[in-house]
């Protein structure tokens, strides 16, 4: 008898909150208190009216503590629309965003578990409607991009969301993004990234135990003992699913030192076959690849091989062996550049400008191309500043994710280019972020930009300005 009016009351309240949050990004603490107070009023009022009806208490419990039903039922069973609408009208705690964004976040998570992708476009359309997107919205956008096959941008969005401060992203959204990134890195065999993510600030229990297991697998100096890892594992969630990896980590015997691997004297066919095997993995091991390339170079330039090549070039009337060697090396560098450009391949290599390894020649080419792309992307932000172009929050986050992906890859390849990158991007990015913060109230977006810029800034006037800008976003 009272269920109808109560439901209407809750829905009206949700719509009111949604309307307010889509035009501003108020601090989550204040919003949380308002929401909690309103919920308390509703539960006291209805308890007094409902009296003995237990079913009504259950109904209220569902409304007041929706996270359990969302996580354990609608998301778990992959019910996309149910997750979206339930989250939108029940507004679980820990989120400071428009109800649409929170709904899209749960909908996107349900999509991950759903065997079908038919609601992907619908979730993306819902994400384009809020004027402001923060943690949960960015996680939802990242998942959608990932499911579309745009892995690089999707992962970068999840990473950006996981780095946002608690003001902009709730614990739940941060946890989901972190765990997805860790799982993806482990699946690609990129255990260095697993450690980086699991040891970053605000780790989750699962990502932390994964990082510690990865440390044992890689036999790093900080590897935990068997007992330590077992204790961490017992305290972490998903124990059954994670056991195969933990077992592998526990079986790994830590050796005091790893002897350097000498370059073997291989035949040319075997050197090439080993290079192929090293290159055809989804996650390339830098040391292994450098070793294989050094072997190829040694065999190619060996006297025996050069004599054979000279003889063959003479038979074919193909000029000198040195020309053939140079052409082969140029083709090999081109191949490596193309492999580096492949978004499905991950390689965490740093440029060594003094090395004669083919990989460094390819990395140098990649660095030049990336620097140009970063400059073009920064110019795009400059072009949008000061003009009355209102792009929706989703497109701005996508542009920022693409930019930061390029810039971070460039800085990883060549960390010494940090100052150069900062000089080329500071003015356009900072001006754009100020505009986003002041005129469009997109504080989370501005925080992300300021935070990235302050990571590259050298101590001085600009660093101080960025610090004060960062503080202003949190007010």
């Amino acid at each position: 008898m009272y269920a109808g009016p109560i439901l209407i009351l809750v829905m009206l309240f949700r719509l009111l909150m949604d309307r307010k949050s889509s035009t501003s990004s108020s601090p989550s603490v204040r919003r949380g208190f308002v929401l909690a107070g309103a919920r308390l009023v509703v539960i006291l009022l209805t308890s007094a009216l409902a009296g003995k009806w237990l079913w009504l208490s259950g109904f209220l419990y569902t409304l007041l503590f929706p996270s359990f039903w969302l996580n354990q039922v609608t998301v778990r069973f992959g019910w996309v629309k149910a997750s979206y609408w339930f989250a939108r009208f029940s507004f679980p705690f820990g989120f400071d965003e428009s109800a649409r964004a929170v709904g899209a976040y749960y909908g996107a998570r349900a999509l991950l578990r759903s065997p079908e992708r038919k609601h992907l476009g619908w979730i993306e359309a819902e994400l384009a409607r809020p004027k402001v997107l923060a943690g949960a919205g960015v996680v939802a956008l990242g998942i959608c991009q990932w499911l579309r096959g745009n892995d690089e941008v999707g992962k970068k969005l999840l990473l950006l969301a996981s780095r946002l401060p608690p003001t902009f992203t709730g614990r739940a959204a941060c946890k989901v993004s972190r765990d997805l990134l860790v799982a993806d890195a482990a699946e690609h065999g990129d255990f260095e990234l697993v450690i980086e993510l699991g040891r970053a600030p605000r780790p989750t229990r699962w990502s932390y135990v994964m990082a510690r297991a990865a440390e044992r697998l890689l036999e790093t100096p900080r590897s935990p003992s068997k007992l330590g890892l077992t204790c961490l594992f017992l305290l972490a969630p998903r124990r059954i699913a994670t056991w195969p990896l933990i077992r592998r980590a526990l079986q790994t015997e830590l050796s005091p030192f790893a002897p350097p691997q000498a370059l073997g004297l291989e035949s040319w066919p075997s050197a090439l076959a080993h290079l192929w095997s090293a290159l055809s993995k989804p996650h390339l091991e830098v040391d292994e690849l450098r070793r294989k390339l050094a072997t190829v170079r040694n065999v190619l330039h060996s006297t025996i091989h050069q004599d054979t090549l000279t003889h063959r070039c003479f038979e074919l009337s193909a000029g000198s062996a040195s020309v053939a060697t140079e052409r082969f090396e140029a083709q090999l560098v081109t191949l490596l550049v193309e492999v580096l450009n492949d978004p499905k391949v991950s390689l965490r290599a740093q440029l060594n400008a003094w090395s004669d390894n083919y990989l460094d020649a390819a990395l140098l080419e990649r660095r030049e191309a990336l620097f140009e792309e970063v400059q073009v992307a920064a110019d795009d932000f400059r072009a949008k500043t000061g003009k009355d172009i209102l792009l929706d929050a989703k497109l701005e986050w996508l542009a920022w994710a693409k930019f930061s992906h390029l810039a971070d890859e460039l800085l990883h390849i060549d960390p010494e280019s940090s100052h150069e990158v900062f000089e080329a991007t500071f003015v356009p990015l900072c001006n754009f972020a100020v505009q986003e913060q002041n005129e469009r109230k997109r504080s989370a977006f501005a925080w992300s930009v300021y935070s990235w810029l302050s990571g590259q800034a050298e101590p001085g006037e600009n660093a101080d300005l960025l610090k004060s800008n960062l503080k202003s976003t949190l007010k």
Binding site: L147, A186, Q251, S267, W276, S280, L335, D342
Partner: protein, 123 residues
Amino acid sequence: MIHGTGLDAWRQNPFFVLEVPTKASRSEVERSGQKLLLLLEMGNKSAQLCQTPLGPIERDADLVRGALSTLRDPEARAVWELWANTASASSEQPASSEQDAIAAPGEAPRPWLDARRAVGWRR
């Protein structure tokens, strides 16, 4: 010169496409290419797939013509001979029973292929 990009270019080596050894004479190369073109024109299924030391590739008339054209240039042929002189390599992922095996000393740890499923991702 290069028909595909990256590793595909390597796999689509003209010698692999035409299925001739690197020591083959010019006439042998031409004969093999013309025979393959004829078979492809007739829609022969076996001619459309080619086994190489680096894995199978799909073959079409354009690829065969490109390979013939490349090998007519002696300087390009010398370079492609270098690429073609490779031993058989396997790029396949380890079988599921081998996934949990510990990597050999000095070898990078194997990927954990069930990681996404662990966090409930069906993708």
